[in-house]
Symmetry: C2
Subunit: 174 residues, 2 copies
DNA sequence: TCTAATTTTCAGTAATTATTGAAAATACAA
DNA sequence: TTGTATTTTCAATAATTACTGAAAATTAGA
């Protein structure tokens, strides 16, 4: 029989998983993917696909797809145990590493495409004359310059040590 | 008749609007809202709801709703011209201000709720003993501490002058 | 090789989110 | 006030995205 304390802990974990899923939406990732991530973050031992399915009451297809996606983000990794055919998964638990992975992926998905579009617009209007064209070019250039800086910063942050960035950032913005 | 140059400029604007809309998706905002934003950013004069509807071929309800949403984000503002009943809209064109607005809004939507959840989980497991509970508490605490730092940085960045931050950031990450 | 365990795919369906269009509400001028 | 221009709301519908479950593919041991 589960003790009172175990129940309380389980309730907190469930809450965490549920809420992390809801938050996932506002981050633009699907609920299930966020829930699996949360579940693995608070589960000390690696879990199999079946355990994840059972715990979250989701289908095999759904579990498989979102586990792969999380591996793609670098937020979880697959573990193969000797003598076991089944694949297991465990989450990266170091918050700085999680942050770096998310930053890298977000840059790739959200910043790089913007840069491409802006460059294309610059090429397309190169050499055009007239007040209207100039206004357009100016706006696009300002966006492009800003995005380029952002892109650099994200690259640097995502590939640096937490110990180097966080204290600096804290001092910078104190 | 439109000159070759005018056509080229128009094509570039259309491309920008279309692509910005597509990118909006990956940012978690709906396509139409992103398109309206793009359109207003590259249109020198304020536009009426009808002009936006006409340009993007969307319904009045859709236009109205997304214009309001953009006003809510602080990315566009409504203009009332004397003698005109119609409301006009113009975009904030200063990239740093755009960035601040987006940062503020993203913090409110994406960071604040995470903080709430983490605090709730901490409260819920306060005082629990045992290895499992401790592991959970440790993980949640690390997330909470990190998110708190992030939250502070976003607040500071979003309320500072570009001239103060960008040079510093550039030096920091050179 | 064959067999059985496991993973992946994907067509069909469910759930969610975005959009329309027209009616209702509002705001303004006369 | 009343009439008209304008904005807002919202139920119905369309479009998109997520999920299921079972079949197909893959993998590894015998």
């Amino acid at each position: 029989m589960a003790t009172k304390q175990q129940e309380q802990l389980q309730a907190a974990k469930d809450e965490f998983v549920t809420q992390w899923g809801a938050i996932g939406n506002s981050w633009g990732v699907n609920r299930t993917m966020a829930q699996i991530h949360a579940l693995l973050m608070v589960t000390p031992d690696p879990m199999s696909t079946d355990q994840v399915m059972e715990e979250l009451k989701i289908s095999r297809g759904n579990a498989n797809m979102n586990l792969r996606e999380l591996v793609g983000w670098g937020l979880i990794r697959s573990i193969v145990r000797k003598g076991e055919r089944k694949e297991f998964f465990e989450a990266e638990k170091d918050v700085w590493k999680i942050f770096c992975m998310v930053t890298r992926e977000r840059k790739r998905r959200e910043i790089d495409p913007v840069q491409d579009v802006l460059l294309r617009c610059q090429d397309q209007t190169e050499g055009l004359k007239g007040a209207e064209a100039q206004a357009f070019q100016k706006q696009i250039k300002e966006l492009a310059d800003f995005v380029a800086t952002t892109s650099n910063i994200m690259d640097k942050v995502a590939s640096s040590q937490q110990s180097k960035i966080v204290p600096l950032a804290s001092k910078l913005f104190k």
